[in-house]
């Protein structure tokens, strides 16, 4: 854990002025469990920043803090210059209009077709002629390879298809900040490549700032400009993905090399295994 670089350290990408999202001293306790124990983190403008870490470490929780869905116990969360905890409900909605959020579980509206799901943000916020709505929606669906599925209902989609529809919906309004919560889960290699390219393209051509939560290090390495590794409520490591991959530390070896043993326990905190199974301690 000593290996955590200070966020304001040498890396030029984390210079304060450039940060779209800036988190300082974040503390969160959920149900008595410490999720964040003082996290400092910067998401540089116009870059793709990956956040990695074992399941249950609080990556989704972090994203919920950034978008104001969940209040932190302490800490400052500045998004585009505004401190999220201070925002009123209406100001939060204003902020969110410029954020695209891809949910871990897609969260499509089950009563609407694929087309209407993708069109939903447009219909709710803009009064556009039907042809324009249609064109925008179809181009986005084309980008995720699902233009032909426009009339299907969410229940008729596979997990990977639903994820791509949710992605099309998240990017429909050309947001300033895109947040992807595990976008690659459930995608076949072809779709994964497409989505990866799409994330890269959105960033390169539109300059969209992106936060990418993912477990696939190979994919992250191809897309991200900067990686934060979160474990144990702290930033365990950060840096350029290539640099991280080569760095020889127990964290990176375990996390990027897939070793079960290391500083990150594979087991969720539990009682002694033997005791749980009814044996005297230490037998198993």
């Amino acid at each position: 854990m000593n290996e955590t670089n200070h966020p304001n350290g040498a890396d030029p990408a984390t210079a304060e002025t450039d940060a779209y999202v800036q988190i300082r001293g974040l503390h969160t306790v959920l149900n008595g469990k410490v999720i964040f124990d003082g996290i400092d983190l910067d998401i540089p403008r116009g870059k793709i920043t990956a956040i990695m870490g074992p399941s249950g470490t609080g990556k989704t929780t972090l994203l919920r803090h950034i978008t104001g869905q969940l209040d932190a116990d302490a800490g400052a969360i500045r998004v585009d210059g505004r401190n999220v905890p201070d925002l009123s409900r209406n100001q939060l909605f204003d902020l969110r209009e410029r954020i695209g959020y891809l949910f871990q579980n897609s969260a499509l509206l089950t009563d609407f077709s694929v087309f209407e799901n993708v069109a939903f943000p447009l219909r709710q916020h803009l009064r556009l002629p039907e042809e324009i709505v249609r064109n925008i929606v179809l181009t986005r669906l084309q980008a995720v390879g699902l233009r032909g599925a426009a009339e299907l209902m969410p229940a008729e989609l596979s997990g990977g298809m639903a994820r791509r529809v949710a992605l099309a919906r998240a990017i429909i309004r050309d947001p300033g900040l895109m947040i992807y919560d595990e976008p690659f889960v459930g995608l076949d290699p072809i779709a994964l490549n497409q989505v990866l390219k799409l994330i890269r393209t959105l960033n390169d051509t539109l300059g969209i700032t992106s936060i990418l939560v993912a477990h696939e290090f190979a994919a992250v390495r191809r897309a991200a400009d900067h990686v934060y590794l979160i474990a144990g409520g702290k930033v365990a490591a950060q840096g350029h993905p290539d640099e991280l991959a080569e760095r020889d530390s127990p964290w990176t070896r375990q996390f990027f090399g897939g070793e079960a043993d290391g500083p990150v326990p594979f087991q969720y905190p539990a009682r002694d295994y033997a005791v749980d199974l009814g044996f005297p301690a230490g037998v198993a």
Binding site: Q69, D94, R96, Y101, A107, P121, Q124
Partner: protein, 255 residues
């Protein structure tokens, strides 16, 4: 469902009432914005109102018929069967129409509201809306609340009309009461304002209360299948109790 908190059930109930009250203010605050979703409101009126028509009309007819039968029997003991129309109309308009419709409404429309919103909560659809900068209070909750307030009195009126029809069917066509006596007595003794319209006000209040309870239960349900199931049950139980209690209060002070 939460064993750890059993001992403070009364405290929990009070907390729920308080939370529901705050929720009501949140809904009222969201109503102006929800006017933008007028079509959604219409759709909800369709779902909670028009889709409840069959059960409301059937039950109205049968309640009217059985009321006629029972009251004829009772009135015959006093030689007062001429008053059948009056008594049926008064019981329906003042009491049975609003209350029975409300109980049916809670079971038919309230449960579906709770289950629908609860499932939206459990599948993160509400969060998704929030993230798309669409306030679920004004897009999901407020339209259903308005729909409850609009649909309930209309349903009660339809229930009453069918009830009168059923009573006429049994009293006049079957038991042989004079048609003119049936209507004449009714029209002479039933007042539009104190009897009919007050009943309509009652049912409006019931509609608001049921919609509030149903949306509140759905909105605050734990995001699990068990949570949604309990919330649906609670909607029926609390709605029924609150409707009957409110009925007593409103009858005592309004009618």
């Amino acid at each position: 469902m939460n064993n750890a908190r059993r001992p403070s059930m009364i405290g929990d109930a009070l907390a729920q009432v308080g939370a529901a009250g705050l929720f009501l203010f949140a809904i009222l605050a969201a109503i102006p914005k929800s006017l933008r979703h007028f079509r959604e409101t219409l759709r909800q009126i369709w779902f909670v109102g028009a889709m409840s028509l069959v059960i409301i009309m059937t039950c109205g007819l049968f309640v009217g018929m059985v009321l006629s039968l029972q009251l004829y029997y009772t009135l015959a003991k006093f030689g007062g069967t001429a008053a059948l129309g009056t008594v049926v109309a008064l019981s329906l308009f003042r009491e049975l129409g609003p209350v029975v419709t409300a109980l049916l409404f809670a079971g038919r429309a309230g449960t579906s509201m709770t289950a629908e919103i609860g499932l939206m909560r459990a599948t993160d659809q509400l969060s998704a809306m929030e993230m798309m900068a669409v306030d679920p209070l004004s897009y999901v909750v407020a339209p259903r609340f308005i729909a409850g307030i609009v649909a309930m009195p209309l349903l009660a009126c339809i229930f009453n009309a069918l009830g009168i029809l059923g009573a006429h069917l049994v009293g006049v066509s079957w038991l042989g009461l004079d048609n003119g006596t049936f209507w004449g007595n009714m029209t002479a003794n039933v007042d539009v304002w104190t009897d009919l319209v007050n009943g309509v006000w009652k049912s409006t209040a019931f509609g608001a209360v049921i919609a509030l309870i149903a949306t509140f239960q759905g909105y605050t349900t734990p995001p699990t299948s068990e949570g949604v199931a309990y919330a649906t049950t609670r909607t029926v139980v609390s709605s029924s109790i609150v409707v009957l209690a409110l009925d007593f209060v409103m009858t005592a002070f309004l009618m």
